[in-house]
């Protein structure tokens, strides 16, 4: 029997060390019936460790977990699931090649040999209706949009009768409209007595949807407050441990001449289908062109095409009026086009190589770093040292493999490498994704600095606030097509942008100004 006073789950005095590094120190965290409890913190603050402990992936060095007042130890996620805890990861743990209903029963024990397909599908339908999680049980997962896949992942947890749902940055992949639907679902779940843990970087959402907030800083609880009794600024301050102005100031600036132009470009995605069709846009000097869109709607392909990394099926790319389409990606780099990819460790950096070696990835073939065939490691050392100090990368040494750097420092290093020799064009994809407040601010300031210095900047982001704050114009992509370019993005409502992200062309959207 669970009375209303006993939390659904309670973690007390959780401590977890990894080889001398404290990931969690004496952390208390609980989830009550019917509440949304936000877990906030910078990268490396210990959120993931804490949730992985709750989900049975790690065992704490000390501390206790109680479920409904009863002490439990979880040896694996299976135990946690059995105790009614479900986690929806950022990258959904779904089998892409299977159907929705098959994914529902993934990992369930004690299924009959012959699967009761009809019963399963009926239960999915019931749960879908109950929580507003529309999805076709017979659909193949790989055919679903990201938003739909998230619904499947949540349904999967509800199907397993999870009482407590851990949602890890659930809105990162959603349109504003989809996020609204998710919030409805969350409200429905809490009204039925479920508890929800909401991990997010977006303070607006935390303020809107949650009842309580626990902030972690360097592995310890920096504060635990009722949402109603706090403010965004206070939360940011608790995360950071110091007051930091929240927005960056963008001085007005007159855009210069056209630098980078895409004329009706069409490119194929990795699966061989067109991912970008007939997109025409231009980026001028002293300008930031924002690109909005739900993840996977052609942004990646756009960036890669503009950086010379993806072959054009049709269309042209011009740099200061010269056709450069079809030239090698090396030529694009030599012409001053720099690209900051979203996937830092996977694409932008070489994790097992050290800071020095990573610093020359885009210049190892040219003087002064290269001398003929040879690389002058002395100069590399000096270059890396100046990069690290100019972009305040915090690293134990220049010989440290970059896999050991935190997300913010990885990004600073990559940013420094791409920006250090005053590029003409900067293409940045999700440059602040996953960064803490101070690193985010640093990155934004650097992009504005490039704008000031006359670069043409193309910024792809999933954070509408960021796009509205930084962009001079805002292009919106949906399914690889350009829905239009908004000339005054700061004055346009989020709803209008959301409609365009969902596929409504600019002409058909009544641009209501003001609201946010």
């Amino acid at each position: 029997m669970t009375d209303t006073e006993t939390p659904l789950i309670s973690m007390k005095g959780i401590t977890k060390r990894f080889t001398g590094v404290v990931a969690n120190q004496d952390v208390d965290f609980d989830v009550r019936r019917g509440e949304v409890h936000a877990l906030l913190g910078e990268n490396g603050a210990g959120k993931s460790t804490l949730m992985n402990i709750l989900y049975g992936l790690y065992r704490p060095d000390s501390g206790a977990i109680t479920v409904g007042g009863v002490g439990r130890t979880f040896a694996s996620p299976r135990d946690a699931i059995a105790a009614g805890i479900g986690m929806v990861h950022q990258h959904f743990m779904l089998i892409q090649s299977q159907k929705v209903w098959e994914n529902m029963i993934l990992g369930l024990e004690s299924l009959p040999e012959i699967l009761p397909r009809r019963d399963i599908i009926r239960r999915i339908a019931d749960l879908s209706a109950q929580y507003g999680l529309e999805v076709d049980p017979m659909a193949n997962v790989w055919q679903l949009s990201v938003g739909e896949q998230q619904r499947v992942a949540i349904l999967q947890m509800l199907y397993r009768k999870a009482n407590v749902l851990i949602l890890d940055e659930p809105t990162a992949v959603l349109t504003p409209q989809e996020a609204e639907r998710l919030f409805e679902t969350i409200r429905q779940m809490t009204s039925e007595g479920h508890g929800v843990v909401f991990i997010s970087h977006k303070l607006d959402e935390v303020m809107r949807i949650t009842n309580r907030v626990t902030i972690l800083r360097r592995g310890r609880v920096a504060g635990s407050v009722d949402t109603a009794a706090t403010s965004k600024e206070q939360l940011a301050e608790m995360m950071m441990g110091e007051k930091i102005p929240f927005s960056v100031s963008k001085p007005p600036m007159r855009p210069g001449e056209r630098i980078l132009e895409a004329e009706g470009i069409t490119v194929l995605g990795d699966r061989g289908f067109p991912s970008l069709s007939d997109v025409t846009l231009e980026v001028r000097a002293n300008e930031i062109l924002g690109v909005a869109g739900v993840a996977g709607n052609g942004q990646q392909e756009l960036c890669e095409a503009l950086a010379g990394l993806r072959k054009l099926e049709s269309g042209r790319i011009l740099l200061s009026g010269t056709n450069i389409s079809g030239m090698s990606s090396r030529t694009f780099i030599d012409l001053g086009i720099r690209y900051i990819p979203a996937d830092r460790k996977g694409t932008g950096l070489v994790p097992n190589m050290n800071v020095e070696e990573n610093s020359i990835l885009k210049k190892y073939w040219s003087r002064p770093v290269a001398r003929g065939m040879m690389i002058d490691w002395k100069r590399v050392f000096e270059f890396a040292r100046s990069l690290v100090s100019r972009y305040s990368v915090s690293t134990p040494s220049l010989a440290t493999p970059v896999r050991n750097l935190s997300g913010g420092n990885l990004q600073k290093l990559m940013l420094g490498r791409e920006l250090s020799d005053s590029p003409q064009v900067v293409i940045a994809m999700h440059p602040t994704w996953g960064l803490d407040v101070s690193a985010t601010r640093f990155v934004r300031e650097q992009l504005l600095e490039e704008r000031k210095n006359g670069a043409a900047v193309l910024l792809v982001s999933e954070d509408l606030d960021e796009l509205q704050a930084l962009s001079d114009r805002l292009a919106v992509l949906c399914k690889g097509e350009l829905m239009g370019i908004i000339d005054n993005p700061a004055d346009v409502s989020r709803e209008s942008v959301g409609l365009m992200m969902a596929g409504t062309p600019l002409e058909s959207v009544a641009l209501c100004t003001g609201g946010a």
Binding site: F18, V21, V350, E357, K362
Partner: protein
């Protein structure tokens, strides 16, 4: 899941990721792995009915006991180290050239062909032509697999391995067929090479000039990999091919080029073996050096200089292994078992570079 009941302390063993790997591990882990392999080998020797202590000490004496033993160890280590440098180069780029053995054979065939068809009576000219032919033949043999890999993503492990059999049988065709020495009493071998086609011997032993070639190649590739633009490229491609493409590096060209160079080195190893040691082409002249090289390259952590030393140790193992056969009356394959154990433990030990085992007591 909790197993068992009752209270009290219990000892648990957890495997967790290391946040950093101390530099000393690079040396400690392979050494401990080597010892563990020898210890396991001792069990095997014991089961074969010989005293492991006697067997190991006999091997040690054979390999290092006198000048002859040491010189034989060096002789064995020459082709191994060259072939190891060859495969190390591709492994650095995460391309798995398992075909050094076949490339050694192609190099040997090509040098024998030069002796047979392009004979000139001048040692420098002869040897240079043989080296060039051997390098080209081995290089093209490997580049074939490299091209298939780069162009159509054909698994190079399989293609290089299969090409080994082709090369070995091709050589057998020549030594059993058209190139067989009529005076060999039916043995599958060519006529002895004339003196100008032989690499000079050193110190009055069987050690030949190939030793200098091997040392030179190891040093050369140390510099190439660590200090040139090209070496940087292959390391980046090996560590993160996506980042390599992002930096405008040409994957296709580098795969083919690296495979060619790797095959060329192995081909030259084959030439040194026939010209320096055997003095003729004969059936089974390479005792699996191309495969042994794979073990050596991994034991050396893909470090060219370390390859020289590890090759020497493995050479000693081979010389000692012959002793096992002669003195202990064990089959020659016992040495292969020891080699296999070493590779197994060294590769298995790699996990301890990134993970550590921790014992802890906790309340049950």
């Amino acid at each position: 899941m909790r197993i068992g009941s009752g209270s009290g302390k219990k000892l648990t063993l957890t495997i967790e990721k290391r946040l950093e790997s101390p530099g000393a591990l690079r040396f400690v882990i392979p050494s401990v792995s080597l010892l563990a392999a020898l210890a396991t080998g001792a069990v095997f020797l014991f089961l074969m009915g010989v005293s492991p202590f006697e067997a190991y000490s006999a091997m040690f004496r054979a390999a290092f006991g006198d000048g002859y033993g040491i010189s034989e160890t060096i002789v064995k280590s020459i082709p191994i180290s060259m072939a190891a440098v060859a495969v190390m180069l591709t492994f650095t780029m995460l391309i798995y050239n398992i075909g050094a053995e076949g490339q050694i054979f192609m190099g040997a065939i090509a040098s024998a062909a030069v002796v047979r068809y392009c004979f000139v009576d001048s040692a420098p000219a002869m040897l240079l032509m043989m080296i060039a032919a051997a390098g080209t033949a081995g290089g093209l043999w490997a580049a074939l697999a490299g091209y298939l890999k780069a162009r159509w993503n054909v698994n190079e492990i399989i293609s290089t391995l299969m090409l080994n059999y082709v090369a070995i049988h091709l050589m057998d065709y020549f030594v059993y067929g058209p190139w067989r020495d009529p005076a060999s009493l039916g043995f599958p071998m060519t006529a002895p090479f004339p003196g100008v086609a032989r690499l000079p011997l050193l110190f009055g032993t069987r050690i030949h000039m190939g030793l200098f070639v091997a040392v030179f190649l190891a040093l050369l590739f140390f510099v190439l990999i660590r200090h040139t633009r090209w070496g940087y490229e292959i390391r980046v491609i090996g560590e993160n091919p996506r980042a390599a493409g992002f930096a405008g590096m040409n994957y296709v060209r580098n795969v083919i080029l690296v495979m060619f160079i790797s095959g060329a080195i192995a081909g030259i190893a084959g030439m040194c073996e026939v010209s320096g040691l055997q003095g003729r082409l004969q059936h089974g002249f390479s005792a699996g050096y191309g495969y042994t090289a794979i073990i050596v390259a991994w034991l050396s952590q893909l470090h060219p200089i370390a390859i020289l030393f590890v090759s020497f140790l493995i050479g000693a193992l081979l010389v000692g292994g012959e002793t096992l056969q002669i003195v202990m009356r064990l089959p020659l394959s016992s040495t292969l078992i020891l080699q296999g154990l070493i590779l197994f433990f060294v590769l298995g030990g790699e996990i301890f570079k990134t993970y550590r085992i921790r014992f802890q007591r906790e309340d049950a």
